[in-house]
Symmetry: C2
Subunit: 471 residues, 2 copies
């Protein structure tokens, strides 16, 4: 409570005494140095070039994922962190197999090829592929209205598009992704033989977007293959169905689940000078989908996170808390890395006070969504003027990041970098999530913005820390 | 003054009575409708597709520029404005000629081809091209220090890069563009035979960026040819010069100035219901450079401006003021359209109270820079909360747009849309200013943001209007 009063008093003082006191001037100067360094002497873009163009898509359990583990470990060692290590974690291994093939057959011998890809975790189609009639729905809830009679033996086509008038595109994603994640499980219960899901993409184009799906505990014999179809082809299929409701849809995919394999989170640390057992974490996830090279999702977040610690070191900043950068493994299809990291932190009684994730693309940063109590939120809000010169304006309550979620506990602050989200779903989980779609300056501005928040959190601490730790 | 007091009272009332009064609720609902319509039923992207892909680069005096005049006039007629007309204006005609060719010769017979393009307005090189030694400078001010002896007979290489640590990239542009605009004129005075200017581009790539240059009133015989060189090749040339200061630089360009030709501003209008002789203008410039298709500069601004009036019509909004959309001709190399429009407005005693230009690319909008007196600025600032749901946060004093600048007068409000500027100079005046670099949603958000400001300005008027016009 004392801390809150101090913050309020400080805020009053700023209002009364003028825009910037001595402390604020220090902070303003530090932020200026951070942005200058990031924009004129940054490393994130070069690292991402390697991760994307030399290694490529990094699906959990793949050779590329293991190369990425070795590469980011080497980068962390090269920038001279106090310690760098691998944290073992078992991850699922799913492989796509040969390229998928699909067509719409409107009459015997008359067919049009369409663009599909298997959803991550899906079973394969039967040998030679699957061909069946199609029933189009706008959502899972329609299944129970239609009933088994209408669905049995058919392919269910989930075609609810992302809502274009939502400004936050992640909200539009959230409003649709149940079709992809649970669509097959639910349709299987009604005797469907397969599902095809409209890609989670706000743009009209020819690229199918993959992503995780789950059968949960559905019996093996009810697990039906699931694929995503491009937005253009989803529209085409929908139109074709209106003209010819008994058309046939064919798709063939040879994806496969293997036993879990050994993988790793990659962790680097700068030991705290005052509160070494109070940890602040910054990270992204090292695994990606396999269609593109995972530049935005989440190569960008990974290299930005390493850059945070490099920038602080280059600026000779000695953190009071122990700062960790974590490359989480297996966010996309399991979250094993995030869970493992939180488990070990609890076992080792490492007091995590702040965690920041960048997993929304490498676009121009707008601010942060913040998961914190009122006192911490008020403290962060008091820093808004410091960010204004960098056009960072968004500091709102909200979710942080999937990988750091398991760390959540009372009094802790979690935050997610919020870049401009308009282009994100053009690339998300698709073949065009590639290095050329990342702008160097935008990536660097993100890294600088993250570094600035880490700096301020380290300097001032979370409000809960100071009830237990004397200053 | 009454108006200011009313605004302040209103602001106080909002603070005291709660977040939104009835009027603010109306406005909030109207903005919601504007954004919804723009994002779900927009036309700007389709129009830009035509302008960029069916017509292409639209240099003043070109056939493409005339096609663009006819096309945008037809679009305005189709959306049913009260009146649409062409405003004749004579424009300069400069043509690039055959593709430029350039190389660096480090020894007889040993040369490397580099990427250059003629600057707009430059004279040609002598027949067969120009080859000379090079002197590198970081700016015009170095010329006088070097003196005629060091410069005469040489090609001056202006190589001051854009400053990467400036967040507003237009500031970085402003800090360099004198090299391009006046470099040849100034170097000619010292007997230089040509100039090559580092492209105004924050990215390292192979694309030369053209743009306007001027000889002012320099005698014809002192006018030397000027080209831009890509950033990669500028770095290469600079390095080569360190190794071999007497290397030779060759370039050949066949550009040419023709007599002025007839062209047009395209104007559409919705007549005001209450103040028909008080005009509010929204516009962009229809001409573009010739290397790309001018999608960002300024096809985007043109289609967004037409979309403003279309959206208001579709939403059945009856403006109080006369609203005009103007496609200005010849911003890039003469500003004849902007000047002509202002001249005629003065002659016809049309009282222009507000003008808004979009000429900073079709990227995600962040807000506006505003050229207004304190009272109008305060009124606009009072609308900031209305824009927050759309992540529009930037409302700062600053320049508006080149084309609307000549309209400026006491009490008038001028504004420029400010989109995210990080990627703008990657494309500006270069071959990659093309349709594929424009994101549909970002373009539409810009149009909605402009429409919202026009709506609010129309509804509340400028503060100066109300001293002379009784309500």
């Amino acid at each position: 409570m004392n801390r809150i009063i101090r913050i309020l008093t400080l805020a009053m003082a700023v209002l009364i005494l003028g825009p910037l006191g001595a402390q604020e001037r220090d902070d303003a100067q530090m932020l200026r140095k951070i942005y200058d360094k990031a924009l004129t002497d940054g490393m994130a873009y070069d690292w991402l070039d390697h991760l994307s163009n030399e290694i490529g898509g990094r699906l959990s359990g793949s050779l590329e994922a293991e190369k990425a583990v070795r590469y980011t470990k080497a980068v962390m060692e090269e920038i001279g962190l106090d310690s760098v290590w691998l944290q073992p974690v078992m991850v699922p291994k799913w492989t796509r197999g040969v390229p998928e093939y699909s067509y719409i057959e409107t009459a015997p011998g008359i067919s049009s090829v369409v663009n599909v890809c298997a959803l991550g975790g899906s079973v394969a189609t039967p040998d030679g592929g699957l061909k069946a009639e199609v029933i189009e729905v706008k959502g899972i809830e329609e299944l129970s209205q239609l009933g088994r009679e209408a669905i049995e033996g058919k392919i269910v086509f989930y075609n609810r598009p992302m809502q274009a008038n939502l400004i936050h595109t992640f909200e539009a994603y959230g409003g649709c992704v149940d079709q992809r994640y649970s669509g097959a499980k639910e349709a299987g219960k009604y005797g469907a033989v397969g599902v095809v899901v409209r890609s989670m993409n706000l743009r009209q184009d020819d690229l199918p977007h993959t992503g995780a799906m789950s059968y949960d505990d559905l019996p093996i014999n009810q697990r039906i293959p699931a694929c995503a179809i491009s937005t253009n082809d989803a529209n085409y299929l929908s139109t074709a169905l209106k003209l010819k409701p008994d058309l046939l849809f064919y798709f063939n995919q040879t994806c496969r689940v293997f036993p879990d394999v050994q993988s790793y989170n990659v962790i680097g640390e700068i030991r705290g000078s005052e509160f070494p057992n109070n940890y602040m974490v910054v990270g992204g996830h090292l695994d990606s989908w396999d269609l593109g090279d995972g530049s935005h999702d989440d190569g960008a977040g990974c290299v930005q996170s390493i850059e945070v610690l490099r920038l602080l070191k280059k600026l000779d900043y000695k953190p009071r808390h122990s700062l960790r950068v974590v490359m989480f493994m297996n966010e996309e299809n399991g979250l094993r890395g995030g869970r493992k990291y939180a488990e070990e932190a609890q076992i080792k009684k490492e007091n995590h006070v702040f965690a920041l994730e960048s997993d929304s693309g490498g676009f121009t940063p707008r601010g942060f969504s913040i998961d914190a109590d009122d006192a911490n939120m008020a403290q962060i809000q008091s820093w808004v003027p410091l960010f204004k010169p960098y056009l960072i304006h968004y500091f709102e309550p909200g979710g942080s990041g999937a990988d750091i979620g398991p760390l959540k506990k009372e009094g802790m602050v979690l935050a997610g970098l919020r870049p401009d989200s308009q282009r994100y779903f053009d690339h998300h989980h698709a073949a065009n999530d590639t290095f050329d779609a990342v702008n160097k300056r935008e990536l660097e501005l993100g890294a600088a913005t993250m570094t600035s928040l880490i700096y301020l959190m380290d300097r001032y601490g979370t409000t809960s820390e100071y009830t237990s730790i004397p200053k």
